[in-house]
Amino acid sequence: MSTPRLSRRTLLRGAGAAVALPFLEAMAPRSARAQAAQAAPRFITFFIPNGFHAPLWTPPEATAAGVTTFTTTRWLQTLLTPDAGLPDLALTDLNALSGLRGTGDFDPAFNDSHGAGTVNFSTAAPGDRYRGAYGKSVDIVARDFFKARGALDTPRDSLAVAVQNFESPDWFRHYYASWAGKFQPAPTFSDPVRLYQELFAASGAAQGSADALRRTLARRKSVLDFVRSDVTRLNAQLGASDRVRLDAHLHGVRELERRLMAMSPNLCGPPPMNPYSQPSQYDAWGRYSRKAELQVELFAYAFTCDLTRFGSFLYFGGGETGGPDEGFLSQRWPQEDWQQHNQAHAIAPGQHRDGDVHYDVMNAFTAEHLKWFRVLLKKLKAATAPSGKSLLDESLVYLGSEMGYGPTHSLESFPALLAGKAGGALTGGRAFDFENRQHLGNLHVSLLQKLGVTSPRMEQDTPTSTRTLYDTPLPAL
């Protein structure tokens, strides 16, 4: 039975000469109502370091307008490689982009292209070296748009995951793909154990009855009620600077409460892989690949079980990765410093070709990074959304890097790959080359537009006198 729509004339006829009428939901145009009821889309950003060597990525036929017939270059072919037990990807699932620009550090005396590029990847600006991004990353902009409209009802607002082995305050910009605001990195999980706890501790035992879960949630909520009261009582006794410190704790409590409120019995059981039982397999140097596998498994799970709709995945920018214990590094190569970044810079001029050991090692890392990206896409493709389509079709996934090609340190010629169809807003199977006439910011605007964000813009509060602003999408995407 169709829902009757009221016309203003009908209402007036019945109510006499009323001047101001209440806005009834039924009178709203259908498109607006549909938009108001639209659940948040799924959006993932995926960062891999050191870019691509152009001949291995950019199809020679690519143009700024985009082409549908093109050479399947090496890295595109890597994405089409079959994996046992998972559906194959097709070129129509993908859009290959090349030739985007980034922005270098505002302090010309400062030359940390990798750090600047990493922040460019998701914010279109370089960020401050020690404090990070000047504003929100594109995934957070999208997330906050839908959250403000009440369209985000998953247990988690977003999820940021990383594969890295150590942290140093010196390389702060390298560690985060998601930025909640200026100088505010989003909490990022680089330990599979903690990520596993995070996904399951907040949701309670995913096994068991809905009734048991409700009791667990009630208990947790009652505890948080007391904690919040204590924060309020203590706050009243503190000075201004101490209240700021306590605010961070209160923020955490509120976030916990929000997650509990959003919780509903989770139909997904926990994945069979449990990192608690396997710490020795990934928590040491030289277990880069295994850690990536665990992190991708859990990250994919968060999306396929609808624990979140927004997320970022980051491979630390060419950082410490371990030794020849790694299966993806050939035992034939000399045993030296296995770090993609260093290998990239060790390639002698004119030796950027297969057969040069440094070039081969650098590319072995890229192949490894793309392999787990491919697995993630396939897990999304294997899952079915409520619409009946594959989750990948309903999603938008953005793969990028911190520069076009690692050895150059240039913040030009950034590559990007878009996967998924954003629920029908994006057509796949195209290759673009923007020849450095378009900025990453324009790509971000396009992404926001495809996700359904109205008046999309990327805005960063930078040290220059004007705010860095992008509000124009890529012309042909």
């Binding site: 400062f110 505890v223 904690v227 203590l234 410190r245 140097w285």
Partner: protein
Amino acid sequence: MTPRSLPCSRAALSLTFAAVALGCVGEVRTPKGVPQPPGVEVDPCAGVPAAPSTAELKRLTVTALTAAVTALTGVGPDAYAASLPALPAPNAFDSERANRGASLQYTLGLFDAAERIGRAAVATPAAQARLLGCTLADGPCGLDGARREANTRAFIARLLAAAYRRAPTAEEVDELWATQASVEADPYEGAGRVVQAVVQSPSFLFVVERGEASAERDDALLLVPDALLERLALALWGELPDASLRARATGWELGTASGVRAAADEMLDDPRANAHVERMVGQWFRLAQLPGLSRTQALFPTLDAELKRSMQTEALALFDGALERGAAFTEAYTARRAVIDDRLAAHYGLAPVGPGFRSVELGGHPTRGGLFATAGFLSVSNGNRDHSNVVKRGNAVRQLVLCDDVPPAPPNAEAMGGGEGDLHARPDCAACHVRMDPIGKGLEGYDAVGAEQAHAGPTLGRVVGRDGFEFSAGPGLGAEAARSSQAHACVVKQVWRWSMGVRDTDAQRCSVEGLRATFVAQGLSLRALVLAFVASDTFRFVLPESP
């Protein structure tokens, strides 16, 4: 402002005193405002009182948190430590990391940890009896039946008093009673729920420091005795005061500098003080990172978990007795003996020592002796490189021994290429590398895991700067560092950072200098330094808080 007493007796010096006095070597101290003859250096810190600290809301470190949880509930850290996220900033003390506030990730991890603590606290009848304070079968504090409300309320009041370090309010007791009664049919699970709520509440997790007006200073507040006791316990033991310490403190005069000094002198005799010093040097010299040391297995086949533990044991053993009266802290730098086992003996090419760890006399061994010749320090200072790295080691010595804030290298530093000559010639590289590389060269006789390696060319190291020196190998570096005024000041700064959880500021420069002078005057005694520090106005006084 009236003159203040200072740790070094500068006030006793007169204009005519142009030579050495009480460790103020080679410096002339002139009281402020007094004209000085031409050519005489003026001490800018003369007459400057010790700067107060700030009373900041401090979060408990993991060490203090786990000790407090164990004391409250009997639950050890194994039950929940995995839930607490490791905080970044490996070059900071954990007291500094805790003072950077509670990140969202930490709060989420703590929530999970609190749930585990609550469950563990009531998991068995024995645990319940421990928590509630009686044998439940026939004890008066059982929670069953008609006794539930009264006894639970009494338990809540006792728990809150211990956890919050103050008397609880009726509102708090009422709220916790309601919290557990509404969701738990089982009274003991209810008690676990109470524990879960209390151990993640800010009144437990944070230390609030309160001061009051004092006749001693009109520009700062004197910490009230309870707050001073907490500050002392956290600084000297890494824990909150327990009931026993609070009982002892009733006989102490914590309102006076001499009273605080006497109290601290007693506390430094407790084994917890030695354990806290061990934690400090473990974090300071990165020895705590040894278990996670990474090297290519094929290149270092003998480097296993056991050898890493031995390295750590040897290096930490150098600081045994650091708190003893009359002991010089720098004995760890210059020691001519080593506490090693057979694994380390083999690593060093020495004769076997037999089972366990033994103290071995090194005599005039040219490359062994002191902290900077230990495999442990030489390994962690080399970063994660498989080959000895002059830059990494030089940087480590600069930061850890001299407290030089060397700007970090850009990640693309290696892409710039070039050898030492290039790096020292390029203006954007030279400023740092001329300060680091020459130090690392002096340690090139050791490979990436601290064993000796053949090295072409001289291994004379050099520290550039006003107090620069040259040295040969680890023992040489130790000897020079033991004499270096910059290294002495670094000890002061590190003790300050460790105790307070914050770095000294520029405004506190004179306070640091005063403590350094005392440290030197007292024969580089760590104990004397700590006592001087806790008795100083920096420790005892706080600036008024902004409303």
